[in-house]
Amino acid sequence: MRGFVPFLGHRLFRALIALWLVSTVVFVVMRLSGDPVPLLLPPDAPHSEIMRVRRDLGLDKPLPVQYVIFLSNLARGDFGRSIHFREPAFDVVRGYLAATLELGLTAFFLAALIAVPIGLFSAMRRNTLVDHAAMGLALIGQSAPTFFLGILFILLLSLKADLFPTSGRGDWRNLVLPALTLGAFTMASIARLTRSAVLEVLGADYIRTARAKGVSEMWVVAKHTLKNAAIPIVTITGLQFGTLLGGAVVTETVFSWPGIGRLAVQSIYNRDYAVVQCTVFLAALMFVVINFFVDLIYGVLDPRIRAG
């Protein structure tokens, strides 16, 4: 692992810049978007009352002063207080993380475990009925809007077939429909990409050579094909993983799942600055970490990248 320390240092530095930029953009955009105070008070609150609450929340200070306070607090790991919940923002967000991880990880593993074999199988049986059926389904999975798919699942699998609860968080039965809904797009993308990546590799000279050597078909697929097709699959899987964790807003809303995507959107509507900043920061952090691991996996999969 020569050069790993400089590599790590370089990545860390870039990660910090990315997090600082994201935080700053969110800080500015949220404050440009409007004032939270009228949303907190009854509609007939007089102007003096609004000014009083703005003062109490520190929103009357000039923007640069607010920004400096925000950054110095952030450096100490303090995300500020939620004005909507009247609690520290990080505590609020932390309460949603478990549900987000539960749903995101389930959807991810469901998607990866189903999609990679399907893509592989489709490629091996190219242009057969099985391939057409699988890719047709993938096309539907990729193009059906999440809210449509979610409500369809509720109506068919919950209300009509009585297999699963309609919504909410609880045991594994509550998890199935939201995970399928959330994972559908990812599943479809991974399946399609796996198929095309495998097809490309299957046409390569070294596969022909392997077959000519008399290597068993199983071994051709497992060792020679999959490993060489893995880089694009790992890339899209990593990216999709981040999306599953941070971008489940619609699924979470349809299934009233208490995850951070929904929290973020509600907090934007409530102009709950601190919570939005905290969720976006954590989401950005997750992306940075995932990307870092994807890069590491590249190195494991392809020695050329490691050397470069």
Partner: protein, 514 residues
């Protein structure tokens, strides 16, 4: 997860216990095992805070009015009933004496006394407490507690509506000793009141669990536990009801009523909203400063069609700025007229020169707002108005509302907080009020006099006169007084409250057993 398992174990234990009873007792108790111990309700948004003095949102007050008691209580019949005060009387123009209920305990065991009531009222407007209801009880000059069960409230000027004010937000009674010892944050996280339910647990955007208060002075509620779940989307909320996962849902849209009513196990219950859906008018902006133009706009709205088509009949055509069901509602007035020919005539008379008139609408800030905007825009176009619909986001609306910067007309759902025009028309349209876009000297004089008069006959006359002035000047274009519909399992006996309170007390919520 842990909670579910514990619940299952509890349920299993209860079933086991119940199963052994009939064996020894001989059988007649079998029916009891099917008795429902839990009430599950679903609303469109989650609770944000439990401290009742820090929120006035309907998602919060559905719960907080049940965790806490007020001195007075507005029941679903629209009338004021005793709460923590058993009786009250006006001693002179500005002094009210309240007799308080004895033997009431807070959920933590502390006894309720007049010190708590005094503390609660003063907390609402105490600048150091920084509450969100600082104006709710601002007519009060001072509060005295001469003995543990008497409260004397002096108002700055005569205030005929003080008992009504105490029944609504800001009026919830909080425990002085507990709050002072734990502070605002802990109190908000672990609220303690005197109400029929006590705080159990809360997972944000998942569920709030509220346990029945076994010692409630109004009798223990029908179930052991009340679970409030947020289900933001309408379709899943209805699906949860139809499947029997929840017992009651709020905010049932009118076009979904048939689905719930047509299902064998569910029904619809509605209350005529204590308020109106109106188009507020920025009467300062030409041509809306001309009453003739506003009269024409009003005459061009086919309200019957809106009620019938968009609301499936779940509403009534308003006749005045006072909601039906309120004090001083004039039943003799006809519904606001639809007369496109006359509308054209008045536009001509007003010298209307095709100026743009904006409808700034939100989506689902009030039910059906966008659909109604589009319908009304078409009606206005028919009489030759150059109308433009602009969609704005909820928080933008809040900001424009604060800055009074609407470009034309905008949706508003004035709630009658006091069951009286003072708490609606005057609160919002009065000088300095949030919808102060139009002034009329006579209207202001009458509104002010009625606010500070304890002579109901005088007040009746004043509101009659104000209604007349209103109908000529139309600072609001009232559109509909809708029903607020709930979906319920048929075994739930529940009367909705017209003002968005959600009453689970024993007198209002019962589960009919098979």
């Amino acid at each position: 997860m842990e909670l579910t398992r514990r619940d299952l174990l509890k349920g299993a234990a209860a079933l086991g216990a119940a199963a052994t009873v009939p064996l020894t007792a001989g059988g007649p108790a079998v029916a009891q095992t099917t008795q429902k111990k839990e009430l599950v309700t679903a609303q469109a948004g989650d609770i944000s805070k439990f401290d009742p003095h820090f929120s006035t949102s309907s998602n919060d007050i559905r719960v907080s009015f049940n965790l806490f008691d007020n001195l007075t209580s507005r029941h679903p019949d629209g009338k004021l009933h005793p709460g923590l005060a058993t009786e009250w009387k006006l001693e002179n123009q500005t002094t009210w004496r309240f007799k308080l209920r004895q033997g009431v305990k807070f959920h933590n065991g502390d006894a309720f006394t007049s010190a708590d009531a005094k503390f609660s009222i003063e907390r609402t407007y105490d600048p150091a407490a920084k509450t969100m209801v600082a104006t709710a009880l601002a007519t009060i000059e001072k509060v005295e507690a001469p003995d543990p069960f008497t409260l004397v409230i002096t108002t700055k000027k005569p205030d005929p509506l003080l008992p009504a004010r105490l029944a609504f937000y800001g009026g919830q009674v909080v425990p002085k000793k507990y709050l002072e010892s734990v502070g605002n944050d802990t109190f908000n996280a672990k609220p303690v009141g005197t109400g029929p339910v006590r705080f159990g647990s809360w997972v944000k955007d998942d569920k709030a669990v509220l346990e029945a208060n076994p010692d409630y002075w109004g009798g223990k509620i029908e179930v052991d536990r009340w679970i409030m779940r947020p289900i933001p989307e309408t379709a899943p909320r209805i699906a949860a009801l139809l499947k029997g996962e929840v017992d009651v849902i709020t905010q049932l849209p009118p076009d979904q009523g048939e689905r719930v009513a047509g299902n064998a196990t569910t029904r619809v219950a509605g209350a005529l909203y204590a308020g109106l859906y109106v188009l507020g008018v920025n009467s300062k902006r030409p041509p809306l400063d001309n009453p003739l133009v506003k009269q024409a706009l009003s005459l061009a709205i086919d309200r019957e069609a809106i009620v019938k088509e968009l609301w499936r009949g779940r509403g009534i055509v308003p006749s005045q700025p006072i909601a039906k069901g309120d004090n001083h509602f004039d039943a003799s007035l006809p519904g606001l007229a639809y007369n496109p020919a006359e509308a054209k005539e008045r536009l001509k008379k007003a010298g209307y020169k095709n100026e743009e008139i904006f409808i700034e609408t939100t989506v689902a800030y009030v039910a059906q707002d966008k659909a109604m905007s589009e319908a009304i825009a078409a009606m206005w176009k028919d009489v030759g108005v150059n109308v433009k619909v602009e969609v704005i986001e909820y928080s933008v609306r809040a900001q424009k509302n604060r800055e009074k910067s609407f470009k034309g007309v905008f949706w508003s759902d004035p709630t009658s907080t006091l069951g009286d025009p003072d708490g609606m028309m005057w609160r919002l349209l009065g000088p300095g009020g949030p919808q102060d876009y139009w002034r009329d000297a006579k209207f202001d004089e009458l509104g002010n006099a009625a606010r500070f008069s304890v002579d109901e006959k005088f007040r009746a006359g004043a509101y009659k006169e104000m209604t007349k002035i209103f109908l000529e000047n139309l600072p609001w274009l009232p559109v509909i007084q809708p029903y607020e519909d709930y979906g319920l399992q048929k075994y739930v006996d529940f009367t909705p409250n017209p003002n968005q309170q959600f009453e689970v007390r024993r007198f209002n919520l019962k589960l009919r057993r098979a």
